[in-house]
Symmetry: C2
Subunit: 338 residues, 2 copies
């Protein structure tokens, strides 16, 4: 049996309140008594029971994090940021993998609440109003992180996607590209982020005033989807003189480059390809991928910092915190000499 505060009190010959005071430094204790208590603590190897403590203080020092899949590298990076910053403020995190199922998300949220978490961060790939409202109902700080959708009326953190996309397109234009294909997904859905990214792309293309503005949609956001679309893209290259492809996600770009590799299309000699996200593989893959860095670690870090802050001083504003944009210029895109 592990020692309790009672044991310490008895051994030190004081009351449990005194022990509590020295543990928490909550009230002055004469140094003489303090020493006795400290000795007793040491002798018994006493460690306070955080569960008992939370029951009375109503503070669990726990933040619940529900993610689509921790195996996803960008999500892992966000969690890394959440964990590390949470730690600085003495918060532990409880992790739940929903695999994207809304019911599971709700169930986990409930579970987290029962464990008395002080805040919840939901990292989701779908946008489910019902889940969000369900969690908002808990009346605890809640931040929603999503790579694909936006809900403007919710606290979140991201980069300015429209601006990022504009800058990437601009960059391709600077490299001499005129016929640039934008590879998207879900662009028509109301809440899709793609709307903003396409907006940025179009703005830059319109400023250019010449060349071909072309948008095409993949079947998904994964490497396979990028690969699968290879045939179409190859056709665009031939028929429409497309010289650069701007993929809305790194995974798509990687898949597409793999397709090119397998089909003897040289990147970047035959076609420049860039991505969006800067996932880990982007800088390891060859050629290294030119892309927009979504600062996943920072996104997580800022998210939890906002939660912790709101835990101190009351309100959590329903705003999007924008993080700086960073372009990663690498070898998958080159000057177009044609």
């Amino acid at each position: 049996m592990t020692a309790t505060i009672k044991d310490v009190a008895k051994l030190a010959g004081v009351s449990i309140s005194t022990v509590s005071r020295v543990i928490n430094k909550s009230k002055p204790v004469s140094s003489e008594v303090k020493i006795k208590v400290l000795e007793a603590i040491d002798e018994l190897g006493y460690k306070p029971n955080a569960v008992a403590r939370s029951l009375v203080t109503k503070r669990s020092n726990l933040i619940g994090v529900i993610v689509t899949d921790i195996g996803n590298s960008s999500i892992a990076q966000m969690v890394r940021g959440i964990e590390e910053v949470g730690r600085m403020y003495n918060y532990d995190i409880i992790l739940s993998n929903s695999y994207g199922d809304p019911n599971t998300e709700k169930r986990f949220a409930e579970l987290l609440r029962s464990k008395q978490v002080e805040g919840i961060i939901l990292i989701s790939e779908i946008l489910n109003k019902e889940v969000i409202e369900y969690i908002e109902d808990f009346k605890i700080p809640f931040i929603y992180l999503n790579k694909y959708y936006v809900d403007l009326d919710l606290p979140t953190v991201s980069i300015d996607h429209s601006e990022a996309s504009y800058r990437m397109t601009k960059y391709l234009i600077e490299l001499g590209h005129k016929n640039i294909l934008y590879l998207t997904r879900n662009e028509r859905e109301e809440a899709s982020l793609e709307r903003y990214k396409i907006e940025g792309y179009k703005k830059a293309m319109t400023e250019l005033g010449e060349g071909k503005q072309q948008i095409y949609s993949a079947q998904g956001f994964e490497v396979e989807d990028g690969y699968a679309i290879g045939d179409e893209v190859a056709k665009f290259i031939k028929e429409d003189n497309i010289t650069a492809v701007f993929c809305c996600q790194d995974e798509l770009a990687i898949g597409l480059i793999s397709y090119c590799y397998d089909n003897n299309i040289k990147v970047p000699e035959d076609i420049s390809i860039c991505g969006y996200g800067d996932i880990k593989i982007a800088s390891i893959y060859r050629p290294r991928l030119t892309t927009i860095k979504e600062p996943y670690y920072d996104i997580g870090a800022v998210a939890i910092r906002r939660i912790v802050k709101s835990l101190d001083d009351g309100e959590l504003e329903k705003t999007n915190t924008y993080l700086p944009i960073q372009m990663m210029k690498r070898e998958s895109c080159k000057m177009d000499g044609r």
Copy 2:
């Protein structure tokens, strides 16, 4: 204020024990009363407070997981396995990132204990006896997962590395390779897993009875280290007619292949390269990497299953659970025609 069991009892006009009974189905309750209670619960939106419950039951339903870095994809996969299987048995996991620092690991272990976790899984990249003993002292189920080192006297789970390495070398030999370089790291350290892998490599080479047995050590286990060693390897290819390189970790192999890409050495035409681990990138990178699959998800899954099991029936044996070996034959290795 959220409703408590008392509120439910009052509204339903019964005692709190009755409410407790219906919540936990711990004792029979007349269906008539049960309905009243259920209605009250529903009306108040009552959810049991898991903290209060753990305090009395001494069961937190929490497993602590300390990892080197959740941003590492193989670790993320293990955590995925841990989380998913833990969930099946109603355990939540608390995640801590130690970044490999032993003192941090100890501190986190302590923190986890204070939160009354029922078991601890430590995923570490170093082997620190002190940390291990410290955690063992908690007298709660503890499993130690490590990719690089072995401690035979501890519960853990892995593949049979000697056998795996033997089979990979055999495979290269079957492809016609005779001069095979084994790229290692830390092979001299007593507890290093590399000893076992080298054993397997040597066994296969000795059985072959001809060709060149060559072992060379990189500076680390990362992609950069694989890249950095490229010059040396290129020399081996030229001078010693090495036709295949067996890298002790996928990261090294990927780095080496990147070096080859950048230096116009064709893989697998000029040199076959294989890895060990089957990290995510292995099957995405081009050429796709031939490698040994370390089943990270399963390792995590089995680890937590062992913990949960020992929580039911007492003891956790200090044994290594071996998982099946799987070879991933891909394009980075080909028949040697020379």
